[in-house]
Structure formats: C-alpha cells, structure tokens
C-alpha cells in the first residue's frame, strides 16, 4: 500500500528512494511501432520489477524485444500503454526535458556498439554527461580522471576511439555511464562486439560495480555471461517467460 501511495505522487522522488527498494517497476507495458500502415507490437505486456542493488541478466532470441525493453527502461522511449515507474516516478508523463535529465543522471547506458563520439578523446567522451549536468570545470576534471582510472584507462585519456581497442572503448563507455553517479546501469550486449578475453574483463568490471552497490540490468545472448547476474529475465515474442531467481 505504501508503495502505491508513493507511486501516484510522482514528484516525491527522494521520498520514494527512502521508502522503497524498487528502482524499476513496469506494469503491463506495451510498445508498438508503426511503419507506414503496418503496426508492430514489440512488447506485449511486460510486468517487471528490479530492486536496488540487483544484477539482472536479460536473455532472449533476437527480435524478442530485449532492446525495446532496454530503451524503455532507460527512458530513451516511452511505453505505448501501461505504466512505468522509475524510482517511483511515472515515466509515461515526463516531458522531453525531464526524460533527458533522467538519462543524464539516473540511468547510465552501455551499448554494444560503444557509441562514443568518434572525434573526441576518451577524456572528452566521459566529460560529455558532466557537461550536460552543468558540473563545474574543476569538478569535471577530477571526476573524469577518477572514472578513467577506475576502469583502468588513466594513461589513455587523450586517445581517440580510433586509437583504442574494442575493450578499451567499452571501458570508456562504462566510465561515461558512471559519470553522474546513476542509480542504475543499463547494458545492451556490452560484450557483443568484443573478443572473449576483453569480454570477460568487461563482465568482471560489471561484477565489481555490482559489488560496489550498483544496480545493473544487462542484455546478453550469452548464458555464461548472463549467469553473472543474480537473476535472469527471459524474453520471447515481447513477453517475459521467466522472471525468477537463477536456478
């Protein structure tokens, strides 16, 4: 009952944090895309909860709706119907600016294709979210240096993406995702473009982050990697198949 009261009062974000351990709360969420006259339903009614501090793996065949789910969780997109509460706030009703701020501060994204700005150095790429958050230049310098050394790239600050290996690029992307101390890290096939060795290194970095208390949702097609999570969500044809503990 308590939770519902908080949920309906969308502005009480701080209150929500203190009163509930649920970060992601999706209720009968559907998402359909329209291409011309054809409408395609990518998610067909998702109910999903993610608790603070959890490490959840999301698996499913391609076209199952994993990435759509991830985009909704990260507020890159909003549900067609259903309700999505992020930290107790109803995402459906957020303005574009509020969504941008959520992506900036509450969520950190890690993509399969890294998605770094190609002309910018590692330092500048990590700095971008801090710029958007209007962090002072002195604090930015400290923070970027701290983040890059945390992912083991203290000596590659001035390198551009073209001068780095895939594993290194993904570390920069993780550092960028962590920039504004988000509550949750969303990773969409973070090892998909990496060889197995760099992939393992990235996964163990996620393990470290989890141990340090971060909430992580990671999409993968690799069961071995998914097993790093405490729980696995299986998706098929836009519906959740299993939503339970790892067994």
């Amino acid at each position: 009952m308590n939770k519902i009261a908080v949920n309906t009062n969308g502005s009480a974000r701080g209150e929500a944090k203190s009163m509930t351990d649920t970060i992601i709360d999706m209720r009968d969420v559907r998402k359909s895309y329209r291409t011309g006259k054809v409408s395609f339903e990518a998610l067909k009614g998702i109910d999903c909860l993610v608790k603070r501090g959890e490490f959840v793996g999301v698996v499913g065949p391609s076209g199952s709706g994993k990435s759509t789910l991830m985009n909704l969780m990260g507020c890159l997109d909003i549900p067609t119907t259903g309700e999505y509460y992020l930290e107790g706030q109803l995402v459906n009703k957020m303005t574009p600016n509020q969504l941008a701020d959520v992506r900036n501060r509450t969520v950190g994204f890690v993509f399969q294709a890294f998605n770094l700005l190609p002309y910018a150095t590692a330092y500048e790429n990590v700095e971008v979210p801090l710029l958007f958050a209007r962090v002072s230049s002195r604090k930015r310098r400290e923070r970027v240096a701290e983040l890059l050394s945390r992912v083991g790239l203290a000596d590659k600050m001035a390198n551009k993406p073209t001068e780095m290996s895939g594993g290194e690029m993904q570390r920069v992307a993780i550092a960028r995702a962590l920039a504004n101390e988000p509550d949750i890290i969303l990773a969409d096939e973070p090892t998909g473009n990496l060889d197995s060795k760099s992939g393992e290194a990235i996964v163990s970095l996620f393990d470290e982050l989890h141990q340090a208390g971060k909430t992580i949702v990671m999409i993968t097609h690799d069961m071995n990697i998914a097993k790093h999570g405490e729980r696995i969500i299986r998706i098929k044809d836009g519906l959740i198949q299993t939503n339970g503990d790892l067994s």
Partner: protein, 418 residues
C-alpha cells in the same frame, strides 16, 4: 556547452566536408561583398552628390517676386511684386532668425574685354555674404568682394574660374583692369573651383560678380532680380517662409496667404527630397545585395541538413547521455552562425580592402571625371552594422530549420542509424 567542443565539432565538420563548406564560404563572402559594395557605392554616391549640391550653397533659399492672385485691400490681382535694394535690410530687421539676407542683380550679354579678348558674359551684383551662403570662396592670392567695396561702390570684379581662364589664360588676373561695358573694373579675386550641379541663374564658374551697390550705380536696374537668404538653423526654414509672406505682404500690400505673390526655392527642402531619393536608391541596392546573400543562405541551410544527416548517430548518443533538445538545437544554430560569420567576415574584409583602394584614387575637381559625380564607395559604420545584422538574421534562419530537425530526432532510431 563548452566552446572548445563546439570548435572541435566545427573543425571536424570542416575537414569532412571541405569542398562543400569552402564553396559555401565563397558564396557567403561573395554575397556579403556584393551587399557591402553596393551599399558602399550608394553611400559614396550620396556623399559626393550632396557635396556637389552644396556647390550652390547649403541651407539657403532663393526668393523671387511673383504676381498676386488675390485681390487685397482694394488692389486687384495680377499685380507684380518686385524687390527694392533696401528690402534685404528691411527683412533682416524683422526676421531675426536669418543669418544672412542679400539682394542679387543679373545682367546677361554684357561685353567684357581684356586686351584682345572680347566676351559676352553674365554679370551679377552680389553681397559679401555670398562667400558663406553661396560658396564664393576666393582662390589663394585674391579676395572676395567685401563690405568696403559695397560702401564705396568700388569697381571691382570677382571672376568665375572658367571665365578667368577664357579671359586671362595663364596670366595672373589679380589687380588687372578689365572693361565691363567699356567701364574699367579691377579684378580682385577668382572663385575657387567647386563642383556645382544645380543653379538658378547660370553656373558660378562663368559669372563676373561685382558689388550689388556698384551694379545698381552702373546699370541702374530699378529692382533686385532675387533675394538670397540663409537662417541660423535650417529647421526654421518653413517658419521663415511664412514670416516673409507676412512681412513683405504688409510692405507691398498683398494677401499673406497668396502663394503666388512670392516664389521661393528652399534648397533645404530640395536637399531633403534628394536625401529621400538617395535613401530609396540605397534601399534598392541593399535589396539586390540581400538577394545575392540569400542564395548563400540557402547554401548554409543545405550544408546544415547534410551535416545533420551525417551526424544523426552523434545526436542520438548525446541524447542518450542526457542532452536536452534545446542543447542540440543551439549546437547546430551556433554552427550555422559560425559558418555564416566566417564567410561574412571574409567578404567584409575584401570589401573593406577594395573601398580603401578606391579612396586612394585621386579625384580632380572641375575635370568632370566619373569619380567626381559618383564619388568613392565608402563603408560607413551603419553599413557595417546593417550587413552584420543581415548576416546574423540569415545565419539564424538558415540554421534554424535544420537545427529543429536535428532536435526532433528520435534517440532510439538515431542510435540505430549507420
């Protein structure tokens, strides 16, 4: 948004689309140049032509007697109004706003002789105040007719420079005797050359001017041909005109509302008219220039559209890490403005250099060459400001629509974009 990042984006973009951006910059520079040079020509023309107009004199009016068209105090209409030699003084006493009032006589076909040279010329009887009112400035070595000449009715002559050349050739005329209708006159000065494009009774370069008192004594004309006057403040002109009708109406008994009784040519009013025509011409030139610049603006918009298409993914990335739409919008707007002003600055620099070059070309007064009429193109502060404002507006317009498209990009789709 920090500046280095904007700058880096711009530089990177420039490298990627070197040819396209260079062409656009050339188009912008060209457009800026055409608008700037056209306006500069207009300004030069305006300045030169008002300078030429001042050859007659500035802020003055010429008044002739007319004919009454209304019966007044028992007097019928159709009565001519003529001025007597004491009228200028009479007017000056009653209208204190006037700085100078002077009568003038004219006589054409007067025989002027020096040595073997016999000419038939225009003689004017003038007043020393013509030096200031009508720019009768003496060349070095001579003088204008002065007050003592007036009082003593001296037989002295002040020659137009063209008449001087015809009469004396290369000889120094000062102090020489000439015969005017067989009466000896001493040449005291020659008028400095000036550009004169309007007149009411022949050009000053051909005049033989003598004191009006001498003129009256020698030729015996009963009436002044016209009166020339100049106020302290040219804003008083219309008010003075009304007063003249009152004052002279009282003296010569005509209805002050009878517009045909006096005929007045207010040079100030025609200067205003001229200024308005020049403003029209300058606006026309400005519009032609703006249209040229507009084409360059289309180029900027085109380049922005291409650049945004190529950077769709980058826009998606920025949105994914928390960029608001307004930030994306302003980034592309700033970029469009940067391109516009770079091209504009180039064009302005070239135009400035060209007009400076024109300034160094000599203008020879009196030789009637093209520059004497057209003047030299001049870049004024106002022109610079106008061009900057037009460039800014164009940069904003040509950047706004592409930038709005960039900001409306869907982050999910743009991240998928390759």
């Amino acid at each position: 948004m920090n500046f280095t990042m904007m700058y880096n984006l711009f530089v990177r973009d420039f490298r990627k689309q070197k040819k396209r951006i260079t062409l656009t910059l050339v188009a912008l520079a060209w457009g800026t140049m055409s608008i700037m040079l056209l306006l500069a020509f207009g300004e030069g023309l305006h300045r030169q032509m008002s300078l030429n107009q001042r050859g007659l004199g500035s802020n003055l009016a010429v008044m002739w007697g007319g004919q009454t068209t209304k019966p007044f105090k028992g007097l019928g209409k159709g009565r001519p109004i003529r001025f007597l030699k004491e009228d200028p003084e009479y007017i000056a006493e009653r209208i204190p706003e006037l700085k100078h009032v002077a009568g003038e006589y004219h006589r054409w076909g007067v025989t002027v002789r020096y040595g073997d040279e016999v000419l038939s010329e225009h003689v004017t009887g003038i007043h020393p105040s013509f030096e200031e009112m009508r720019y009768h400035l003496p060349q070095v070595g001579g003088r204008m007719i002065n007050q003592i000449d007036m009082e003593k009715r001296r037989r002295v002559a002040f020659l137009g420079w063209d008449l001087n050349e015809r009469l004396f050739g290369d000889e120094d005329p000062i102090g020489k005797q000439i015969l005017v209708n067989d009466m000896p006159f001493t040449v005291v000065g020659v008028m400095a050359e000036k550009m004169q494009t309007n007149s009411y009774s022949g050009m000053d370069e051909d005049n033989l001017a003598i004191p009006s008192t001498t003129f009256k004594a020698v030729f015996g004309d009963p009436w002044l041909d016209n009166i020339v006057y100049q106020p302290y403040d040219k804003a008083d002109m219309p008010h003075i005109e009304r007063q003249l009708f009152e004052v002279l109406g009282a003296k010569y008994k005509f209805d002050p509302t009878d517009e045909r009784a006096l005929s007045i040519w207010d040079v100030v009013a025609s200067q205003q008219e001229f200024t308005n025509i020049m403003i029209g011409i300058k606006m026309f030139l400005g519009i032609i220039g703006s249209l040229t610049l507009l084409i360059a603006g289309v180029g900027v918009a085109n380049i922005m559209y291409v650049s945004i298409k190529e950077r769709t993914r980058e826009i998606g990335i920025k949105m994914a890490v928390g960029a608001r739409r307004s930030l994306i919008l302003s980034q592309f707007l700033v970029e469009a403005l940067m391109i516009t002003f770079t091209g504009g600055a180039l064009g302005m620099a070239i135009s400035y250099a060209l007009t400076e070059g024109f300034k160094r070309m000599p203008v020879n007064p009196g030789t009637a060459d093209v520059l004497e009429f057209m003047g030299r193109p001049t870049v004024s502060f106002e022109i610079g400001m106008a061009v900057i404002i037009i460039l800014g507006a164009m940069g904003l317009l040509s950047g706004l629509f592409p930038a709005m498209r960039a900001a409306s990009v869907n982050p999910v789709e743009s991240l998928r974009y390759e």
